[in-house]
Symmetry: C4
Subunit: 288 residues, 4 copies
C-alpha cells in the first residue's frame, strides 16, 4: 500500500506538475510527441506523401494513439480524484485525442476523425509551462469577462444585420447572379461585413452594388465596437492593477497604493486598531 501510494504520488508529480527535473523532462517529451503526431496527421493528408509513406504514417499514428492512451490511463490512475480530471477541460481534450483512433478500428470512414486530434494543440499551453504567460493571459481573460454582456449585444446586432442585408441582397440580385438562396446571401453578407471578401459571389446590378457599398462601410466602421469595448476594459483592468481597494474611514476615497498607511487626500489614517476583520481591505491582486 505504501509503495503503491508513493508510486502514485511520484507519477502525479511527474505528470501533473512542473517542479522537478523529471517533471520538466516529461513535459518536454510530451510536447515533442504532441507536435510530431500533429505533423504526421498533416503530412498524411497531402496526397503525394500519403501515397509514398502510407505504411509509415499508419504505424506512427498507432504508436501515438497507444502513447496517448497510456498517458491518459496514467493520468486517471494517479489523479487523486479521477472523475474530476476526466470531466475537466483538459481531461476531455485528452480523451478526444485517443477516441477517434479507436472509432476508426470499427468504422473505416472514421479515419478522418483522427484529424480531431488537432484539438490536442490546446495542451501545448499547459506543457509550455505557461503559468508565467498565463498571468498575462489573466488580464486578457478579465477584460473579456468584464465585456461579456456588451459583446453579446454586439454579436446579436451583427446577426440581425447580416440577416437583413442578406435577405435584401437576395431580393435585389436574385439567384441568377449567384445569390441562390437566403442562407447563401447571408453567407455573402458575413463575408462582406467582416471585410473578408472572397469574391466567389459578387453583386452585378447597380442597386446591388450600392447595397453592397452600405454593407462594406458598415462592416468597416463597426469593427470599432468590439475593439473599443475590449480596449477600454483592458486599460481599466491594467490601471487598477496594484492598488488596494479600501474605503478611507474619513473621506471614503476608494483606492490607495498597496503600501499606504494614510489617505493621500485627507491625511487620515487608513486603519485603526479596532478595525474588525470584516472591514479589512481586499488587495486587488491577480489570483493565480
Amino acid at each position: 500500500m505504501d509503495n503503491r501510494q508513493s508510486w502514485r504520488q511520484r507519477l502525479y508529480i511527474i505528470i501533473f506538475e512542473t517542479s522537478t527535473p523529471a517533471a520538466q523532462r516529461f513535459d518536454n517529451w510530451l510536447l515533442v510527441a504532441i507536435l510530431t503526431s500533429l505533423v504526421v496527421v498533416m503530412l498524411d493528408s497531402i496526397e503525394r506523401f500519403h501515397n509514398q509513406y502510407a505504411g509509415l504514417f499508419s504505424a506512427l499514428e498507432w504508436f501515438f494513439t497507444a502513447l496517448f492512451a497510456v498517458e491518459y490511463a496514467l493520468r486517471l490512475y494517479c489523479s487523486p480524484k479521477p472523475l474530476r480530471y476526466a470531466f475537466s477541460f483538459f481531461g476531455l481534450v485528452d480523451l478526444l485525442a485517443v477516441l477517434p483512433a479507436i472509432l476508426a478500428l470499427m468504422f473505416a470512414d472514421a479515419q478522418y476523425l483522427m484529424i480531431v486530434r488537432a484539438i490536442r494543440m490546446v495542451r501545448i499551453f499547459r506543457v509550455l509551462k505557461l503559468r508565467h504567460y498565463l498571468t498575462q493571459a489573466n488580464f486578457l481573460l478579465v477584460a473579456l469577462r468584464g465585456s461579456k454582456q456588451k459583446i453579446i449585444v454586439f454579436l446579436v446586432s451583427v446577426s440581425t444585420l447580416v440577416t437583413v442585408f442578406g435577405a435584401l441582397m437576395y431580393v435585389v440580385e436574385g439567384p441568377a447572379h449567384g445569390f441562390t438562396s437566403i442562407p447563401t446571401s447571408i453567407y455573402w453578407a458575413v463575408v462582406t461585413l467582416t471585410t473578408v471578401g472572397f469574391g466567389d459571389i459578387t453583386p452585378k446590378t447597380p442597386l446591388g452594388q450600392m447595397l453592397a457599398t452600405m454593407v462594406m462601410i458598415t462592416g468597416y466602421s463597426i469593427i470599432a465596437v468590439p475593439t473599443g469595448i475590449f480596449t477600454a476594459e483592458l486599460a481599466n483592468a491594467m490601471r487598477q492593477d496594484g492598488q488596494m481597494e479600501h474605503d478611507c474611514p474619513h473621506c471614503r476615497k476608494p483606492r490607495h497604493e498597496h503600501s499606504a498607511a494614510f489617505c493621500n487626500r485627507c491625511g487620515g489614517p487608513l486603519f485603526t486598531r479596532c478595525d474588525a476583520a470584516s472591514s479589512a481591505p481586499r488587495d486587488r491582486r491577480e489570483t493565480d
Copy 2:
C-alpha cells in the same frame, strides 16, 4: 365595461410587459414563432426545399402571417394609446411583418416582399428580456451619440476619398480593364478602401496598381479613426474619474475632482479629522 377594461389590462400585461409568468410564457412562444417563421422563409428560398415542400411552406407562411396579424391587432386593441404604438419603432416593425403577405395576395411578384419579414428580427431584442443587456448597450449608445459629429465628419471624408479615387482609377485604367464607368470605379474604391477586396475588378496597369496601393494603405490606416473615436468616447464614459459629490464645509461648493483635498473655489480643506461617516462624500460610481 368593467370586464372589457379588465380584459384589456390583462392583455396589456401579457403582451407588453414581462412581470408575470403568463407574460413570460407569451414572450417565449412569440420568440419561437419569430425564429420559426424566419427559418421557414430561409428554407423556402433554397430551390431544393422549395420544390419539395412548397405546399407546407405556403401553409406555414399563411399561418404565421395570420398569427402576427392577430398579435398586431391585439397590440393595437389593448394599448392605451394605439396611434402612439402604431408609429413607434416597434410598431412599424410589426406592421412590416404582416404587410408583405397581404400585398402578395394582390400582386404575385410581391411574394418576395415576404422576405422583408426578416426585419422582425429586431423584435428579438425585446423578447429576450434584454433589459439587463440594454444597460450595457446603453454605454455603447452613449458612446455612439457622443461621437456622432466626429463620425459624420469621418463619413463625409470617406465619401470624398472614394469618389476622388474612383474617378482617378476610371481615368487611369479605363473601361477595357473592368472600370466601366465612374460609379463602377467608385464601387471598386469602396471595396478596396474597406479592405474587403472582392477581386471582381482589379487594376491591370502599373500606374493603376500604384494608385490602388495608395487606396489600400489609406483604407488600412484610417480604420484607426472610427476605432479611436469610439474607444476614446467609451473609455471616457466608463471612467470613474467623474466628480466627487461632497459639499465643501466652508463655501458648500457641491462638486470637486475625485482627488481634490481643498476646495478650488474658497481654498478650504474638504475634510477634517472629525468627519463622521455619514457626511463622507459619495463617489460617482457606475450603477449596475
Copy 3:
C-alpha cells in the same frame, strides 16, 4: 466708388460668409450645383446613358463650367486679397474645377480631365456650414498632428516590410505563378498586408503559401499600431479639454478647472494681484 465698394462687400458676405439669409441661400444653391455637376459627370461615364443623352450632358457640362467660372471670377473680384485666395487650398480646388473644361476646348482627349472636377467635393465641407462639425473635426486634426511622427515611422516600416516580403515572394514563386516582377510582387504584398486580398495573384507553392501566412499574420497584427497611436492621442486630447494650464505658485500643480481660484491639491491661491501678464495662464480652448 462707394457703390462699387459696397457691392464688393455685399458680394463678399454672400459668397464667403454664412451669416445672412442671402448667404445661406447662396450656399445651398452652390451645394445643389456641385452635387448635380458630379452626378452628371458620373452618369456621362456610363455607356448606356452616354449614348442616349450625350447632347444633354454636354450642354449641362458647359453650363456648370460657365457657372463655376463665373463664381471663381466673382470670388477673385470681391476678395480683399485676391492672390491670397487664389493660392489658398480652396482657391486651387476651385480653379481645378474649371480648368479641365477649358483645356478640353483645346485638346480633345482632355475631356477625361473633367473628371478631376470630382475634387470639388471638398468644397462640400465648407458649404454645409460645417463650422459646427469642424469644431469636432479639430479634435481629430489635433490627434493626427500629435501623432505625425509616430505615423511616419509606421509608414516607413510598412514600406520596408512590403518591399522585403514582395522581393522574397518573387524569388519563391516566380513569374510562372503570377509574380511577374518585383514591383508586381510588392503590389501583391500590399494587397495582402492590408488584408484587402483581391485574389488576382495568389501563391501556389507550399513555401509561398507559408510566406504568405507570415505576411497575413503581420498585416493582421500591425493594424493595431496606427489604431493605438491615434486612439491614445485622441483620448489624451479629449481628456485635457476644458482644463486650464497654469502652474500653482505653491505646489506647481499644472492643471486646474477653468473656474478654479485655489489649487485643489495644496489650497493655495492660484493668482496674486501682482501676477504680471507674462505669467498669466493659457486657457486650453479650441481655436476656431
Copy 4:
C-alpha cells in the same frame, strides 16, 4: 601612426556619425545610392526592361556591389571594435547586401539572391537621421516590449485556432472542393481569419459555409485583442499620471501620486503655504 589614427577617426565621424556637414553629405549620398540600387533591382525584374537594358543594369549592379563592399570595408576599418560592428544588426544587414553578388559570381542561379539586397532598406532608418523620429519610435518599442507576453499568448491562440478550423474544414469540405490537404486548409483558415480572403479556395457545401462564417466572425472580433493590448500599453506609457517627485517635509518620502495632498506614509501635509518655488515638486512630464 598619428596620421593613420586621425584618418580613422575622421572616417569614423563621417561614416558613423551625423554631426558634421561632411557626415551629413555622406549620409545623403548613401541614401541616394541605396534607393537607386533598389530601383535598379526592381526594374531588372520586369521582363520588358530586362530585355532592353540588360547590359546597363548588370553594370549598375556591379557598380553598387563594389560601392557597398568598399563602404563595408571602410566601416570595418575605422570602427574601434570591428568584430562588434560585424555582428551587430546593422553590420549583418550590410554584409547581406554585398554577399549575394559575390555568390552570383560562382553560382549562376544565385543571381536571384541579389534581390536579398532589398534588406538594405532597413539602413534607410539610420541614414534619414531618424534620431528625432526614433524618440517617437521609442514609445512604440516600449509599448511593444511591455505587451510582449500578451502578444505571445495571442499568437499561440491564433495558431491553435487556425489549425483546428483548418482541420475541420478539411474534413467537412474535402479535396474535391479545393481543400486538398490539412496544410492547405490551414492556409485557407489563415487567409479567412485575417480577413484577407483571396478567394482562391472557397467553401462550397452549406456546412462548410456555416463553419466559414464562424471563422470569419472570430477573425473579425479578435482583431480587437492585439489592438487593445497595444493601445492600452501605449496609453499607459504616454500618460502623465506617473508620479510626483517631491520630498515629504515630515518623513522625506520621495514619491507620491500626482494628486496627493498628504503623504500616505506619515499623514502629514505635502505643501505648506510658505513653500518657496525652488522646493516645489517636479512633475514627471514627457521629455521632448
